[in-house]
């Protein structure tokens, strides 16, 4: 049972480039979430999904897109990367309130 896995672990992007952060869970959880964590701050919710085919915006969705074609996968897409998107990104899944987190992706936009 791998839990929640995220790839890549690290990435440096140039301004204007795009990329997809991958997230996979093997716990058959319906709920999945993407957060970003900036230095000295808590986790801010970007997007979430309540099941395959259903996604909705969180607190800070601008500049991001998501899709959920399967229960297992919940990729986060960054289009036209900006320096303000430099952050650590965490994916989580849950059967309820207790969320299980992946190890994170550290993204730098230069």
């Amino acid at each position: 049972n791998a839990g929640v896995t995220q790839t890549p672990k690290f990435r440096i992007l140039k301004i204007g480039q795009s990329m997809t952060l991958q997230c996979t869970q093997d716990m058959n959880h319906n709920y999945m979430y993407w957060y970003r964590q900036d230095p000295g701050m808590g986790l801010k919710l970007i997007y979430y999904s309540v099941g395959a085919g259903i996604t909705d915006k969180g607190e800070v969705p601008n500049g991001y897109n998501v899709s959920r074609s399967t229960t297992e996968d919940f990729p986060l897409r960054l289009e036209l990367a900006a320096p303000s998107q430099t952050s650590v990104y965490f994916c989580a899944s849950s059967p309820g309130f207790e969320q299980f987190f992946g190890p994170g992706t550290r993204l730098t936009v230069l």
Binding site: L43, F90, F97
Partner: protein, 113 residues
């Protein structure tokens, strides 16, 4: 508008003593509260939770207390161990909200040997 506040950015305690981490919330609709622990370069891991119908929940060395009238919760760690050194996040959720959580900014706990 910070709905979940952890006003102490850091806390330092001696090994074997009690660690008390505090959290305040402003949204009276929150009815489920959790504490997460985070080591550097890792994702947060769930520690303990409490529902608003309780005022205390205990799991080994960890106890969470909830004071609904004061909109305050605290995490007690007894006895503290050096391996407890980490950032602790308080999180709150509201029933019927698709289990979305609102997180505080975290408190860095350092347990000195």
């Amino acid at each position: 508008d910070q709905q979940v506040k952890q006003n102490s950015p850091s806390l330092s305690v001696q090994e074997g003593r009690i660690s008390i981490l505090n959290c305040d919330y402003t949204n009276s609709m929150f009815d489920y509260f959790l504490w997460y622990k985070k080591y550097p370069a890792e994702g947060p891991t769930f520690l303990i939770s409490i529902s608003s119908i309780k005022d205390k929940n205990e799991d080994g060395r960890f106890t969470v207390f909830l004071n609904k009238s004061a909109k305050h919760l605290s995490l007690h760690i007894v006895p503290s161990q050096p391996g407890d050194s980490a950032v602790y996040f308080c999180a709150a959720g509201q029933g019927g909200s698709n289990y979305k959580l609102t997180f505080g900014k975290g408190t860095l706990l350092t347990v000195n040997p």
